[in-house]
Amino acid sequence: MSPTSVQSVQSTADSPLAVPHVLARALGQEFAGTRVLDGIAVSVHPGELFGLVGPSGCGKTTLVRMIVGLLRPTNGQMLVNGVAPEAFSAADRRAIGYLPQSFSLFPTLSLQQNARFVAATYGIGWWARRRRIREVLRVLDLWDVRRRRADQVSGGMQRRLGLACALLHEPRLLVVDEPTAGLDPDLRVRIWDYLREAQQRGTTIFLTTQYIEEAERCDNVAVMREGHVVASGSPSALRERAAIPEGVDIEVDRVDAADIAALWQLPGIHHVRQVDARHVRLVADHAEHAVAEATTVLTERGREVSSAEPHRPSFEDVFRSLVSQAPTPPSEGA
C-alpha cells in the first residue's frame, strides 16, 4: 500500500512554507515482527489543531510516542520541528508538551507538587515556576484543589493536571493522547475549550481521539485504521469525500402528490417521502442546497413553508463511509 499523504490546510496566518511541526514520511513501526504502523505520512503545520482519529488499537498512541521521541521508527522518517526525535536536544524537548494517554505522575503528591516536579524537570526556575503553575492551574480550574493528593481527585482532574503539566513550559507543539477518553460530555467540552485556548495562544496541537465526532473540532484530521491512514484533510473535505446523502425535514401548511412529484424533479435529490399531511423528508447530496431549492419550489406552488431543516450525517457516519471506501490493508506478512 502506498503511503497516504496528508497536506494539512493552514488554519492560521502562518506561511505555507513554514517548517511543519510534525512531518512523517512513509513511517512504519514493528513490535516483535508485528507491523503496527505502515506508510504513515502526516504533516502538521504551526498553529494547527490536528486530530488523529480511529478506533482503539489502530496505532494512534504508537504514532504519538514516535512524535515525542519515546519510540524509534522501524522505517520511514519522522521530523518534529525539523529534527528527528532520536536526535532531540534539550531545547527541542522544551518545545514539546506531552500528555500521555494514562495518568503518569506521582499519586501520593499533591497536584501542585506534581506540577512543581514536572516544571523542575523542564528547568523552569523557582519564581517562574510559581507564577506559571498558578496561571495554568487557574486556567484549568485546578487552583482550588491544588493541595489535594493526585490519587484523591477525580479522573477528570487528573486529566487536567496532566494537561497542565504539558502546558507548564509553554511548548510550541502540544501532543495530547486521547485527552477526553473516559470523561463525561461536559468535561470533554471544557477540555476542548482549554485546547482551543492553547491554540489561540499559538500552540500547535496534535491530538488523538477515539470519539469520532470530536474530529470535527480539529482543523485537520487523519483517519486511521489498522496502522494505516485511510483518509485525511479538513473535516468538511472529509465529509465531501465520504459523499453521504444528507436529509432535509420540511414542514408546510399542506402537501399533496403534485408537490411530491415537483420535489422529485430537483437536482441532487435521491429520495422524497411524505411523512404526513404537513411533513416531507428529502434525501439529497447537499442538504443546504436542497433546503433552498425545495423552499423555492413549494413557495411557488402556493405552499407556506413553516420550517426546513437540513440534517447532516454525523461525523461517525463520515468515518464509517471513509473506512469502508478505503482499500483493505494488506494482511500481516503479505
Binding site: 521521541g69 506531552y98 494514562s102 503518569s104 505522575l105 506521582f106 503528591l109 499533591s110 512543581r116 503539566c165
Partner: protein
C-alpha cells in the same frame, strides 16, 4: 542553572513524598531504631546453661552428690531420672538440653585405673549450638576433672599430715642419741625410738607417692611434682635403712663397741634435713595450684571494654543503613516505571546524570538522617563507646550510603519489575548478614565464597565503624578507599544504565 533546577526536581519530589507519608518515615527511620533497641537490649551474651538431667540408678544417687554439686556450677541441673529411656524422650521433646549418664559406681573405674566415662546425650540440630554444646560440655568435664584432682591432692596432703612435724620428732631422738655417748643401752633405746618415729613418715610418703603417680597419669603437667614425691620416698627409705642398720649393729654390740659415731649422727640429721627440703615445696603447694598450674591472665589493649551490644551495634547500623539505601534506590525506577513517570522523564529535557544525581541527593539525605539517628541512639541509649573521630565516622557512613545507593540504582535499572528489585535487595541483605563479618568473622569464610564478602558495601563499613568506635583507630583505611571507588564506579554505571533507559525504544 537549569541543570541544578532539573536535578533538584527529585529532591523536592522525595521530600514532598516523605512529608506526605508519615508511614514511610515510620518504616524507614523508626523501624530500624526499634530493631536496634531490640537487638541491643534483648539479645543475651554467651551460651546457655544447658538444662540437664542426670540419668542413673537411685542406689548410686548418694555417691553422686559431690559430683552433682560440682555439675550445678556449669549446667542448669533439672534433677535425676531413673530411666534413661524417659530421659531420652524428654531430650527429644526439647524439654531438656542434655542428659548425663553416670555409671553406677564411678569409684570402680578409678580403682581399675581407668577414667570414669560421663556419657552426655544432646539433641540439638542447630550446628552452631551443637558445636557450642560439645565445646561447652568438654570444657565442663575438664573443669570437673580439675576439681577431682584438686580434691584428690587435698585429700593426699591431708592424709600425709605435716612432714616437718614428723621429722622434728625424729630429730629429738637423734639429739638424744647424740647425747648418749658411751651409753650403749641409752643409744639402743634412742635408735629404737627413732626407728619407730620414722614409720608414720614412711607410710605417709608411700601414700603420697602413690597418689602423685595417679595424678601425674591424668595430668601430665604434674609429673615434676610426682618426681619430687618419689625423691622424698627414696630419701625416707634410705634413712629408714640407715637407722635399721644402726639398730641391728647396736643390738649385737657389747661394751663401748658399735656405738654410732658423730659422723653417723650428722648423716642422720642431714637425711632429715633433706627430707624437709624435698617435702616442703611439694606439700606446701595449694591443691588448686597443683590441679591447675596455669592460670589465664588476659590483658585487653583496646581503649574500651566492648560489651556484646557495643560490638554488634556498629554492624547492625551498617547493615540497616546499607539495606535502607539499597531498597530505596532499588525501588526507584521500578516505581517510576509502574507509574509511567519514566515516559515523562524520557520526553523532558532532563539528562540521565541529573535524574541519578537528583535521586542520590534525595535518598542520600533521607538515609543520612536515618543513620545519624541510629548512631545517636546507639551512643546515647545503648552506651556504645565512641573512641575515634566523629569526622571519620561520618565519612564512613556517607561513603556507605553513596555506595549502597549505587548498588540500589544498578539493581533498579537492571530489574524488570518491582518484585525482582525487591527480591534482589532482600538477597543482598541476607548475603550481608552471612558474609559481611556480622555473624561470622570473614576469616572463617573460605575462598571462593569469601569473594562474596567483598561485594557488599556493609563489609567495609562494618569493619571501619567497629574500629573507629571501639578501637579509636582505622585499622584498614583501604576499606574507605574501596567504598569511595565503588561509589564512583556505581554512580557512573547507574548514569550509563539510566541513559540507556531514557533512550527511545
Amino acid at each position: 542553572m537549569r541543570s541544578v533546577i532539573r536535578t533538584s526536581a527529585f529532591m523536592e519530589q522525595w521530600l514532598s513524598e516523605v512529608v506526605r507519608q508519615p508511614g514511610l518515615i515510620l518504616t524507614l527511620v523508626v523501624a530500624p531504631f526499634i530493631l536496634l533497641v531490640a537487638f541491643g537490649t534483648g539479645v543475651e551474651l554467651g551460651g546457655p546453661r544447658p538444662r540437664t538431667v542426670v540419668a542413673e540408678s537411685a542406689d548410686a544417687r548418694d555417691s553422686l552428690e559431690p559430683l552433682i554439686a560440682d555439675l550445678e556450677q556449669y549446667v542448669d541441673f533439672r534433677g535425676f531420672e531413673d530411666s534413661l529411656l524417659l530421659a531420652r524422650r524428654s531430650l527429644e521433646r526439647g524439654d531438656i538440653d542434655a542428659v548425663i549418664v553416670v555409671p553406677d559406681d564411678p569409684a570402680q573405674f578409678l580403682e581399675r585405673g581407668v577414667q570414669v566415662p560421663l556419657q552426655v546425650l544432646i539433641g540439638e540440630v542447630d550446628p552452631v549450638r551443637r558445636s557450642y554444646a560439645r565445646a561447652y560440655l568438654r570444657d565442663q568435664v575438664a573443669a570437673l576433672n580439675q576439681r577431682t584432682i584438686e580434691d584428690v591432692v587435698s585429700d593426699a596432703q591431708g592424709s600425709v599430715g605435716n612432714i616437718s612435724d614428723m621429722t622434728a620428732e625424729a630429730r629429738q631422738y637423734v639429739d638424744l642419741l647424740a647425747g648418749a655417748r658411751g651409753e650403749l643401752e641409752e643409744a639402743r633405746t634412742q635408735v629404737s625410738e627413732l626407728r619407730t618415729s620414722l614409720e608414720p613418715l614412711s607410710r605417709a610418703v608411700e601414700s603420697a607417692d602413690s597418689t602423685a603417680e595417679r595424678v601425674a597419669f591424668f595430668v601430665p603437667g604434674l609429673s615434676a611434682a610426682a618426681g619430687q614425691v618419689d625423691r622424698l620416698r627414696v630419701a625416707v627409705t634410705d634413712l629408714e635403712s640407715t637407722v635399721e642398720r644402726l639398730d641391728t649393729r647396736l643390738s649385737a654390740a657389747s661394751g663401748g663397741q658399735g656405738l654410732p659415731s658423730e659422723q653417723e649422727v650428722d648423716d642422720i640429721r642431714a637425711a632429715l634435713d633433706e627430707i624437709d627440703a624435698i617435702a616442703g615445696p611439694v606439700f606446701s603447694v595449694s591443691p588448686g595450684v597443683i590441679s591447675a598450674p596455669f592460670v589465664l591472665e588476659l590483658q585487653d589493649v583496646t581503649p574500651v571494654e566492648p560489651t556484646f551490644t557495643s560490638f554488634y551495634s556498629p554492624g547492625v547500623v551498617a547493615l540497616l543503613v546499607q539495606h535502607l539505601a539499597i531498597t530505596l534506590a532499588a525501588l526507584t525506577l521500578s516505581r517510576v516505571r509502574v507509574l509511567r513517570v519514566v515516559d515523562m522523564l524520557r520526553v523532558a529535557p532532563i539528562r540521565a546524570s541529573e535524574v541519578v544525581l537528583g535521586n542520590y541527593i534525595g535518598y542520600g539525605l533521607l538515609c543520612g538522617v536515618a543513620a545519624a539517628g541510629l548512631i545517636a541512639m546507639m551512643v546515647g541509649f545503648l552506651d556504645v563507646p565512641m573512641s575515634g573521630s566523629w569526622l571519620v565516622l561520618a565519612g564512613t557512613v556517607a561513603l556507605l550510603i553513596l555506595c549502597s545507593l549505587g548498588v540500589g540504582f544498578v539493581v533498579s535499572l537492571l530489574s524488570s519489575s518491582t518484585q525482582q528489585a525487591t527480591q534482589v535487595a532482600m538477597l543482598i541483605l541476607l548475603g550481608s548478614i552471612f558474609f559481611s563479618g556480622f555473624v561470622f568473622s570473614i576469616d572463617r569464610v573460605s575462598w571462593p565464597a569469601r569473594a562474596l564478602t567483598y561485594t557488599f558495601p556493609g563489609t567495609y563499613a562494618l569493619r571501619s565503624l567497629q574500629d573507629e568506635m571501639l578501637r579509636g583507630l582505622l585499622r584498614s583505611p583501604e576499606d574507605l578507599v574501596f567504598l569511595g571507588v565503588g561509589s564512583v564506579a556505581l554512580f557512573a554505571l547507574a548514569v550509563w544504565l539510566m541513559r540507556r533507559e531514557l533512550r527511545p525504544r
